[in-house]
């Protein structure tokens, strides 16, 4: 019987997923620092929903439950979605989004390894389209908030009856949002960025979380859980794109660093677009995929109807993956291209 190779080396799928979850911990800590501990509640809510939904679907599909729950992929989807939502979002928003991500975007397509779209981004997009008001109302960072919210207050926001009046009191337009609305009022970028919510590079407080994502991403690179192609191509093209527009008219377009350090740029670069299942597999394909997402993200941010565009860009490029893979097949040893 030939069952060679007898040796195996690779970390298992669950080890990979757990390491990615570990890489998210700095960002979670930064979240707690900037917005308070409510994010922890949301992470727990999302985790429970994801695992229950996954187990339910596996049972309905007659699949073994334990190995697939243990693989950690559902948990990762839950965390990525929770970290994309405003930290004071009502509990049902978290549950609905996570449920949709796991049931519709992942399990109905065949579960782990078979989903053509990034499940977390599907969940996010559904929520953004269905509940745009809640989804675009981010609470002000603690240091800028007029009313300091205790953890009990935060829990009230999450579990209490939804009250948009309440939400308005504590929310503050995100820099990307603010920039967009102010530009329509013909203010110059230089004037706009002097507003309170702007920090050194991106959003006040928010840039701390962005930095934490960057640290987590470097850990993923160091552990060889992702290759450099996706994050570097994404960030480089986003910076190039923003740089070109900025040089053309600095009064109407924000500088490239602002684009790199606000919104979901870093989260996207290292944790979202690097989802292997829904992304391309060839090195060249990864460059094309990431560049496409960067271009679309920038266009949506500047010309689109939403403040940020990472989620839609990822989903749009997910659709192109089979084509990208087919077109970027590497040259095989001993063959001409």
């Amino acid at each position: 019987m030939s069952r060679s190779p007898y040796l195996t080396s690779a970390p298992s799928v669950s080890v990979i997923m757990i390491k990615v979850l570990l890489a998210l911990l700095p960002a979670v800590a930064a979240y707690v620092w900037v917005f308070g501990p409510s994010i922890l509640v949301m992470l727990i809510l999302a985790s429970i929903t994801a695992l229950s939904a996954e187990a339910l679907m596996l049972k309905l599909r007659n699949r073994p439950i334990k190995p697939f729950l243990m693989d950690g992929s559902a948990l990762l989807t839950a965390w990525l979605l929770a970290l994309s939502l405003p930290p004071l979002a009502p509990w049902w928003l978290v549950v609905v989004g996570t449920f949709f991500a796991i049931v519709i975007a992942k399990q109905l397509y065949g579960g782990l390894g078979y989903n053509p779209f990034n499940p977390a981004m599907v969940g996010y997009a559904v929520l953004l389209i269905s509940f745009p008001v809640i989804m675009t109302h981010w609470p002000a960072p603690i240091e800028l908030a007029q009313a300091k919210l205790s953890f009990a207050n935060q829990l009230e926001y999450i579990f209490g009856a939804s009250n948009s009046m309440n939400l308005d009191a504590v929310s503050m337009a995100t820099p990307l949002d603010y920039l967009k609305t102010q530009l329509t009022l013909h203010h110059s970028v230089q004037d706009i960025v002097s507003a309170a919510q702007f920090g050194l590079l991106g959003a006040k407080g928010g840039e701390l979380i962005v930095g934490a994502y960057l640290i987590g991403g470097l850990y993923l690179l160091q552990q060889r859980l992702i290759t450099w192609h996706l994050p570097i191509a994404f960030l480089a093209v986003l910076a190039l794109m923003a740089g070109a527009f900025y040089l053309a008219d600095p009064t109407r377009f924000a500088n490239p660093l602002f684009h790199l350090f606000t919104g979901a740029s870093m989260l996207g670069a290292f944790f979202i677009i690097t989802d292997p299942v829904s992304g391309p597999t060839t090195p060249k394909g990864k460059l094309v995929f990431a560049a496409g997402i960067a271009v679309l993200t920038y266009l949506i941010r500047v010309y689109g109807g939403y403040p940020d565009g990472v989620a839609f860009s990822v989903l749009l490029m997910n659709m192109c993956v089979p084509l990208i893979d087919a077109w970027t097949q590497p040259r095989v040893f001993g063959h001409q291209k």
């Binding site: 019987m1 069952r3 060679s4 190779p5 040796l7 799928v13 390894g113 597999t281 001993g334 063959h335």
Partner: protein, 577 residues
């Protein structure tokens, strides 16, 4: 990129390789265990079992009968056909039987073997060295057919075939494979440490036969002693004066010992997939093969033994010089016996080897290593998870395939697509499986898909042949019919002529012409009909790369039906006669 890599690498003194390694893996080497002892010798076994199938190619023709007394080195079976290898008696004794016995082969099936009862005298047959430098090359090659030498690196391809040169193949560079990239195996390492000079003598023979201008010896950097021994031997070799002779240390990265990979590492030349290395001026030999050449030409000794590594779950892992036909159990015994927990015996390395059907099988020419295995050594593989498209397999593939795509195509039996994605360029090195976090037995899928494609091609060929025969038969029937008709017409005309002759005198006979013309027209018509039929019978969308399995199944069924009809018709036509 690669030039920068070279500068850095060579600057640090790591490697003299021409190009950067692409892909590959570096599993724990486990070479130390078996390479701390000098090469040992086994006591003469009581019985030797010599499978006829020890090489790639046609089986040799048996020259002895049961009961014959044979001497050491005596030819027992001679090479038959172009690609074949002879078999000799590794020691003196009598032929006890010629029968099927278990052989070391992945199939685990028994095959024809010559079985020798050893008499213990180890008595040589008369054998002479060849004064090869003064002899005609064709004569030497003819003599090499009787040497029984095959590639000892594991491929077991008859060496005489590889040393033949033709107008199309001009070998400029001789690549000597001493990479020994598989973990655990140390037989080439020990051979170089102990017998480097003999290897050099073998290189001289090969260089002379091929007329190579350059001899490059490729050794992985985890064998510094062997590399040093080879360097010393090179320095004192007379060959050093005539041609470029170099030891090139390459990074330890499996599978650098694959011939095409090593050629690329040493020369920078990527042998085109559809060409043999000789067509681009290169030939590659393993060090042990070269030593066998030296023994044959300088001492007249045919291939009788080889160095085998015995390692793994045994008391004293080491290397032994083992006569072909020696039972694996003898070798295990010599190494102090298998330890508790042994559950498997692997021939070859852990990356490309295979499990033996039993430890009683003989050591053959291809047997470079026996690993006594236990679950502690090689843990059972956990159940496979779905592919998550992480492409780690693609990163480690030394031939730049996309294993994850090939896996999908193989799994869904989308064989056309698998072929299109260069399935047949897969060297089955196992790197992809080694790197897979989902524990998918990828290589197994590729082996399966390859065999399916080959089987499909064969059945298609058979069906095509049957169809052609049927068309030919229809055409023949039609032709015969036409010929009969022409004959009838001729007869009628002939009768008329006879009648005319009676009335008129000797009119010039132009009867033949219209008759011939009618015949020609009839044949043309028959050909037209056959052509039309051929069109209607043409195989349906064989090359259609439809992704669904069902389409493919329907297609195969259709072909099978066509073949069946063709065969039936043929049978019925024979019945008619």
């Amino acid at each position: 990129m690669s030039s920068l890599f070279n500068i850095v690498k060579q600057g640090l003194g790591f490697s003299d390789a021409q190009v950067a390694v692409t892909g590959g893996v570096h599993p724990p080497e486990h070479k130390q265990e078996s390479s701390s002892q000098p090469i040992g010798y086994l006591a003469l076994p009581k019985r030797l079992v010599l499978p006829l199938r020890q090489h790639v190619g046609t089986l040799p023709k048996i020259l002895v009968n049961v009961g014959d007394t044979v001497l050491k080195g005596q030819l027992l079976a001679e090479a038959e056909g172009n690609i074949s290898a002879a078999i000799h008696a590794p020691t003196s004794g009598t032929i006890a039987a010629i029968e099927d016995a278990l052989i070391p082969h992945p199939s685990g099936l028994p095959d024809r073997c010559l079985i020798i009862d050893v008499d213990g005298k180890d008595e040589w047959i008369a054998h002479l060295s060849l004064d090869w430098r003064t002899q005609d090359k064709t004569k030497l090659l003819e003599s090499l057919r009787k040497s029984g030498i095959v590639g000892l690196g594991g491929a077991a391809f008859p060496t005489q075939v590889k040393l033949r040169t033709s107008a199309r193949t001009h070998v400029n560079t001789l690549v000597i494979n001493a990479a020994e990239c598989e973990p655990y195996i140390t037989c080439d390492d020990m051979l170089m440490r102990e017998r480097a000079e003999q290897i050099l003598r073998g290189i001289e023979v090969a260089q002379y036969l091929l007329g190579a201008k350059e001899c490059l010896i490729g050794i992985e950097d985890n064998k510094p002693e062997a590399a040093e021994a080879m360097r010393l031997a090179c320095a004192s070799s007379p060959l050093n004066q005539e041609v470029t002779l170099k030891v090139i240390v390459v990074p330890t990265q499996y599978p650098s010992g694959d011939a095409r990979q090593l050629i690329r590492l040493l020369t920078g030349i990527e042998v085109p997939a559809d060409k043999r290395s000789t067509e681009v001026g290169l030939q590659c030999f393993n060090v042990a093969t070269l030593l066998a050449l030296h023994r044959y030409f300088d001492h007249g000794e045919p291939a009788l033994s080889r160095i085998v590594t015995i390692t793994g779950n045994v008391k004293k892992p080491a290397n032994y010089e083992v006569l072909f036909g020696t039972p694996v159990t003898d070798l295990i015994q010599a190494a102090g016996g298998a330890l508790a927990g042994t559950n498997d015996y692997i021939m070859g390395g852990p990356m490309m080897g295979f499990s033996l059907p039993s430890a009683d099988v003989p050591i053959t020419k291809a047997a470079n290593c026996i690993i006594v295995s236990s679950p502690n050594l090689f843990a059972p593989v956990p159940p496979a998870m779905p592919c998550i498209r992480c492409a780690r397999c693609a990163d480690v593939c030394p031939v730049s395939l996309q294993p994850q795509e090939l896996y999908w195509f193989s799994k869904s039996s989308n064989l056309e697509k698998a072929r299109e994605y260069k399935l047949f360029d897969c060297i089955e090195c196992g790197c992809c499986t080694y790197a897979c976090p989902s524990n998918i037995p990828l290589v197994q899928y590729y082996r399966f898909a390859k065999s399916e494609i080959i089987a499909q091609d064969r059945s298609k060929e058979a069906a095509d042949l049957a169809r052609e025969r049927n068309e030919f038969r229809l055409m023949r029937i039609e032709r015969e019919k036409q010929e009969r008709a022409v004959k009838h017409a001729q007869k009628a005309v002939g009768a008329k002529v006879e009648a005319d002759k009676a009335s008129t005198n000797e009119t010039p006979i132009s009867v033949d012409d219209p008759a011939m013309e009618a015949k020609k027209a009839a044949i043309a018509a028959a050909i037209e009909r056959a052509k039309a039929q051929k069109k209607s019978l043409a195989p349906q969308n064989v090359s259609d790369p439809s992704p669904s399995v069902q389409a493919e199944m329907i297609e195969i069924d259709a072909r099978r039906e066509a073949a069946k009809i063709a065969v039936n018709e043929q049978a019925s036509s024979q019945d008619e006669k």
